[in-house]
Symmetry: C2
Subunit: 283 residues, 2 copies
């Protein structure tokens, strides 16, 4: 497994791969990897010849009040995990290599970035779109795989790729969960034992919604009320948002007809967790 | 000379060229070509194996009050001119192919875009950076050539390429002028005969500045005052801005030490013309 730290060296390496006809798969991460990330690497490996994983805790997607410095990091552990799933290369740049002096260029996906997580994190998706543009230009992949757990991020990236004509296929991979249903996240390590128990109500609320939808309920206010009741089962949970939106525009809807998503963000103590359920067209 | 209208077809064509080891040069234009554009094509041809010229009057760099609809267009004439200088391919997309329904992604180069033309055209460089990002992703060039006449545009693109890690060499090509010194521009066709005569004072003002600088004057207020006096020789000229700036940050400076630029924009009647003089380090 090759470790590359310099952006220009990564570009030259990807150019050489491309010139040989090798198809490149890419999984961008902020490190502190869990099985969710590893499943993205496996998925990329099924679709391409050479998988590059980037590890970079991107400062531009954190606001000044957020947990940039506290964000967990363990490169040695990540390296072992990535070797274990057959990763071909790791791009692991420094902050200075990514954001040199005088840095001032940002990519904004306007409407989709504003609802859901964009309400409490107004510059978050600008940071995500910017760093992903940079990583796409450095890694030059044919395919990139993102987790559906970060549903809004996936939709933002899909829109950006379409709008800016990136010649890259974007794959959304299903959320990987712990045995008990909690969506895997690097932030789960912040949870105390009692908080961890409360966090299970997130998946329970989404399951309740799914069951009601499958039974024929497609009115958003009804589904939201039932999900809210489940989350209110723990006084530790503070809802940041709970919404049902069109799966492509992320605009709130009253009734589920096409593809839609129930998206939820909660605070448990100081930890903010997100999850979602995607309503597929009944077939 | 191949004409390609579809972005995906252009990407596939460029991929095939790259896979053969062909180096691609690129000159983005809004059409209605003059010798200035053609010199960029020739320059790109010297540096690469295959030159692609794009012709696209980009709506996102015009404000609602500006001359988008009136902007001159003549594809048949452009085609003949491009054939004449050995252009290999022309990318000539429709507006709908470039900005489909739901379009919402923009690239912003923050500080550099705000001074000079950014004052009177606050969204102009956002439109330029956005369409150039799109064109880079579609044409996939190794080298792109821009005219120094649009000096701020060149600096914005250079900064964007560095910040977003585009693996593309950006060349700034010297301004091409009419016999009498007027910088070539598609907008020169708007000028009536008397306006055309007044327009010559722009180059005269820059020449006066150059002469004073070469004689040892490096104080910006003095040079600006002398240039202003030349421009005031015609009552038809209304100065939009006349500034001396650092050539990389475009921040105004009081004294010329490193690379700097005198940049000027004037209205003559309804026509807005720009020009500049770059102060090189005395050698």
């Amino acid at each position: 497994m090759k470790i590359i730290r310099d952006p220009v060296e990564m570009q030259q390496y990807s150019d050489a791969l491309r010139h040989q006809g090798t198809r490149i798969g890419f999984v961008p991460t902020m490190g502190y990897l869990h099985e969710g990330h590893l499943s993205l690497v496996t998925e990329a490996g099924k679709r391409t010849d050479h998988v590059v994983v980037s590890i970079f805790v991107n400062p531009t997607q954190f606001s000044p009040s957020e947990d940039l410095e506290a964000y967990p990091r363990d490169f040695a552990r990540d390296e072992t995990l990535l070797e274990g799933v057959g990763t071909d290369s790791v791009f692991y740049p420094t902050k200075d290599a990514m954001y040199a002096g005088g840095y001032q260029t940002y990519v904004t996906v306007e409407n989709i970035s504003q609802n859901l997580c964009g309400v409490s994190r107004p510059t978050h998706f600008r940071g995500v779109a910017t760093v992903v543009t940079k990583l796409f230009n450095i890694v030059k992949p044919h395919v990139a795989v993102f987790g559906q757990k970060d549903f809004q991020q996936l939709v933002v990236i899909q829109r950006m790729v379409k709008d800016l004509n990136f010649d890259i296929e974007i794959i959304g991979h299903p959320t990987v969960r712990e045995q008990d249903g909690l969506a895997m996240s690097s932030r789960n390590t912040y949870l105390g034992p009692e908080e961890r128990t409360s966090a299970l109500l997130i998946k329970k609320a989404l399951d309740r919604t799914r069951d009601l939808y499958v039974e024929g309920n497609n009115k958003a206010p009804v589904l939201l009320q039932k999900a809210k009741e489940v989350l209110e089962g723990s006084p530790r949970i503070k809802i940041d948002y709970l919404k049902i939106c069109d799966a492509h525009t992320l605009e709130e809807i009253e009734e589920i007809r096409g593809e839609a998503v129930m998206a939820v963000a909660v605070f448990i103590g100081k930890t903010r967790l997100i999850d979602n359920y995607v309503f597929r067209n009944p077939s």
